[in-house]
């Protein structure tokens, strides 16, 4: 229903007050129209305040009809649609879409063309549908379509009218350009409407609210570092520099505070579940600053990982852990540790959607900005001009692995003490402390009693005793015979017992009866007792041994010799380093020589070896030229 201005004021009395009308900034109106606009405003305000039309018209020296017209422009219109109000006071502004009410223009009775084209589209049967079909088929580039231009679209329009026996004296045939401009505008408008991308129906699959409680959402990801490193080893009195392949960094970031919780540098390009479990353990393990030996490297004041703040941080319950769907993340060992031991939710996210873990991905971006400063960087891509030059590629990089470890430690902890805008200018560590003091953080008290070791595993095995061979009772595990005093019991023969072992060292394992009684420890054969032996190394040895016959009596030494012989390959050199780290807790004639070695533990026996004059006198003090000297 159409309302007049008086009816509108009756229906909506709040419009009587001109102050309730929307305000239009006068600066935005062209100067030429500004004077009339202000006059119109004053007139309407006066009328609405209660003055009669006549007195107002006399005061402002305008006709009463003009005021009525203005009021109608502002207030009249459809009952259900809002009135134009203040904007209708701008002179010459079209506030309503003009609908033609009078008859179309004719040669005998010319009445202008305003609204005629819309009128035709509305009242002529099918013409709008046909024109729209023409445009759509043209846009879809259909085989039967034509490539439309305004000119030919206009001709099609005229053809349709003629086909419908439209009088040749009526609009558009009485116009000079036969409604060409209306056709052009319509075509342009329809093309814009049809080609504009439609808003996608977003299916909500993620949380609607932002995480504000620390440790309730942790994002974890790994990335191959864009840098090559080197290391030095001494073997039989000779120092050998080795180029290492690229290493992998695992990083855990808290979403609520943006704090880096833990990191793990993996000595491989393809990390395994063990590396991820190490990282998960590091979240709750007390962080200790490294003893920095690289020149010019220092920790920022108060820079640390949250686990160093308080005991509370080491038993806090983790909410949700977001990972990507890398193969090592899908391991049952990882799932059991996260869901059973941590009691957390595990989420792998959607494939190829890294923005689901935007915090940790952005952390890697920031880290890479620093990593790309080293000359041995591989850059972001194969065409990156920052890539290590061919000249430098022939020599091991100056950056050693222990220096890289220290650099990462400094960079990652440094991030935690940088004020951030999204945290209101506070640092991530300060925010973490504030939340821990003022929020309810769920705790995992079981972690306080006993640290859950994800590397411990249990298995049921059968006790064997071959009486004819006059051997000790034993069990079979990973292809070895394990023996121990606890098995010297006839009741256990051919019975099941439970063994508990650490996957990182299986030289000695613990045995229990099925009733839970401890049976002592069992040992692997003597030839495997020299070095700590992980299951992954053992399997690799077995695989290589099968391929390469004729290894020495000590399988580990043979494997080590093989790796050393192939040291020039960076991948094998990295594997050598991994094995070295595994062996380094035992007496060995090998040791890692690096100026900034702090992460490598050296046993008392190896220290005594190091103190021998013939070795120590050959170790030079650290210098970047050390590599060149040895080449």
């Amino acid at each position: 229903m159409q309302l007049t201005w008086k009816q509108r004021l009756n229906n909506e009395p709040h419009l009587q007050s001109f102050d309730s009308w929307p305000q239009i900034d006068t600066d935005l109106i062209p100067v030429s129209k500004r004077k009339l606009f202000l006059r119109n405003k004053r007139i309407i305000a006066k009328v609405l305040s209660g003055s009669t039309l006549k007195s107002t018209a006399e005061e402002y020296r305008v006709s009463s009809a003009l005021i009525t017209n203005m009021l109608n422009r502002c207030l009249s219109g459809d009952e259900l649609s809002p009135p134009p109000l203040t904007k209708a006071l701008i002179p010459n502004l079209r506030v309503k879409q003009g609908n033609r009410k009078m008859q179309l223009s004719d040669v005998s009775n010319p009445s202008g063309a305003r609204g005629s084209f819309s009128y035709l589209l509305e009242h002529m049967p099918n013409i709008k549908e046909i024109l729209d079909t023409l445009i759509e088929s043209s846009l879809k580039r259909e085989r039967s379509a034509q490539n439309l231009t305004p000119k030919y679209f206009h001709k099609e329009f005229l053809r349709l009218l003629r086909d419908a026996n439209w009088p040749s004296t009526t609009y558009p045939f009485d116009q000079q350009h036969l409604a060409y401009e209306s056709c052009r505008q319509y075509l342009k408008k329809r093309i814009a409407e049809l080609t504009m991308p439609q808003p996608r129906k977003v299916r909500e699959i993620l949380s609607r609210k932002a995480c504000t409680v620390p440790y309730q959402e942790i994002q974890i990801d790994s990335q191959t570092l864009d840098v090559h490193t080197s290391m030095y080893i001494e073997f039989k009195g000779q120092m050998i520099p080795l180029r290492l392949s690229r290493l992998t960094l695992f990083l855990a970031t808290d979403v609520a505070t943006g704090c880096h919780l833990a990191y793990e540098l993996c000595l491989t390009k393809d990390p395994t579940q063990v590396d991820l479990l190490n990282l998960l353990q590091n979240i709750h393990r007390k962080w200790q600053p490294l003893e920095l030996k690289t020149p010019g490297l220092n920790y920022e004041p108060e820079a640390c990982l949250p686990s160093a703040i308080s005991d509370l941080n080491r038993i806090v319950s983790v909410g949700m852990i977001r990972l990507d769907n890398a193969l090592c993340h899908m391991s049952h060992l990882v799932r059991n540790y996260i869901c059973d031991e941590l009691g957390a939710t595990l989420n792998f996210g959607l494939p190829a959607q890294p923005k689901g873990r935007n915090m940790v991905e952005y952390a890697f971006k920031r880290l890479n900005e620093h990593i790309h400063r080293f000359p041995s960087t591989t850059g972001s891509n194969p065409f990156d001009p920052l890539r290590e030059s061919k000249k430098n590629l022939t020599k091991p990089p100056v950056l050693t692995i222990s220096s890289l470890n220290e650099i990462l430690s400094v960079l990652i902890t440094h991030h935690n003490v940088i004020p951030q805008e999204k945290l209101g200018g506070r640092t991530p560590i300060d925010t973490m402390k504030f939340c821990l003091d003022n929020q309810f953080i769920p705790l995992s008290y079981a972690h306080f009693d006993k640290r859950v070791d994800p590397f411990l595993r249990r298995k049921k095995v059968t006790v064997k005793w071959l009486s004819k061979e006059n051997r000790k009772p034993h069990i079979h595990f990973e292809g070895f015979r394990y023996t121990g005093d606890g098995l010297h019991n006839t009741e256990l023969v051919n019975c099941k017992i439970v063994i508990e072992y650490d996957i990182r060292d299986i030289r000695r394992i613990s045995a229990y009866s099925c009733m839970g009684d401890r049976l002592g420890s069992l040992s692997a054969p003597k030839s495997w007792q020299n070095y700590p032996l992980s299951i992954s190394t053992l399997r690799k040895i077995k695989k290589d041994t099968k391929r390469l016959r004729g290894l020495g009596a000590d399988p580990l030494s043979g494997y080590f010799e093989f790796l050393l012989a192939n040291k020039n390959t960076p991948l094998q050199a990295t594997e050598l380093l991994r094995v070295f780290k595994e062996y380094s807790s035992s007496p060995s004639h090998l040791k890692l020589l690096s100026p900034a070695t702090s992460d490598t533990k050296i046993s008392p026996t190896s220290i005594s070896l190091r103190n021998k004059p013939r070795y120590s006198s050959r170790i030079p003090s650290w210098s970047p030229y050390l590599i060149e000297k040895n080449l």
């Binding site: 799932r335 939710t345 595990l346 996210g349 959607l350 309810f440 769920p442």
Partner: protein, 227 residues
């Protein structure tokens, strides 16, 4: 009347005659990698539950928060509707009645699936329902708070707090309303460790009610005696 051509299939032994799920139907590793799956241990479901969407995880947390729900199983049955395979999202027992639930983005489920399923489950005295994800996400805050409580209880599953529970229950009989701050010592969490776990166990059992007031669980969260 719709022709019912539905068969419950046990994934390991062929056709099954029972509709009593013990464990959830295994999720293919391909689905684990391709869908937005969530894995979480719960109390009313034995084992690590695999949920194929965020809404399913929240729905399970809401079931856990309802004391009238005795147990639930995500992805309970493997059914064949004609030649199509179908696994419902959740099965739960509420006040002794059995329900099977399907969660859909806008609660839209094709009639050619829905009507036969309703008839099939009705014959087995199970009510089949289709819930929209939006209706679950509306209670996201409550579900998230409950997930925090569940995680605490999961981590403390080996702790015995029976004595502390009775003591706490008696104190609520005298003063039926308290704030979390009154029960848990926030300055020294270790000292009130047993009380904290006992409190959450009583809430989970339905002896006490917790009112989150549209906020994250915190020191001002109100706990009161259940009517």
């Amino acid at each position: 009347m719709h022709m019912i051509n539905i068969k419950c299939v046990d994934t390991y032994r062929g056709t099954s005659n029972t509709l009593l799920p013990i464990q959830q139907v295994g999720t293919a590793s391909k689905l684990l990698r391709s869908a937005d799956c969530y894995q979480q241990r719960f109390i009313k479901f034995d084992g690590v539950g695999i949920f194929h969407s965020y809404a399913e995880l929240l729905h399970a947390a809401l079931l856990e928060s309802n004391p009238a729900v005795t147990s639930f199983t995500p992805q309970p049955f493997f059914l064949r509707i004609g030649r199509r395979r179908y696994i419902p999202d959740c099965y739960y027992v509420l006040d002794g009645k059995r329900y099977v639930v399907e969660l859909k983005p806008r609660g839209e489920f094709a009639d050619e699936m829905k009507l036969p399923l309703e008839a099939f489950f009705d014959y087995e005295n199970i009510k089949f329902k289709v819930i929209s994800n939006d209706s679950v996400l509306e209670h996201e805050l409550i579900a998230q708070n409950w997930l925090r409580i569940i995680r605490v209880l999961i981590n403390a599953r080996h702790e015995d707090t029976q004595v502390e529970e009775i003591r706490l229950w008696e104190s609520f009989l005298i003063t039926p309303k308290a704030y979390l701050d009154d029960i848990i010592s926030f300055s020294n969490r270790f000292s009130s460790r047993s009380r904290e776990i006992a409190l959450f166990r009583l809430i989970h059992k339905g002896k006490l009610t917790i009112n989150f007031n549209d906020r994250d669980i915190g020191i001002n969260t109100e706990v009161s005696l259940c009517n």
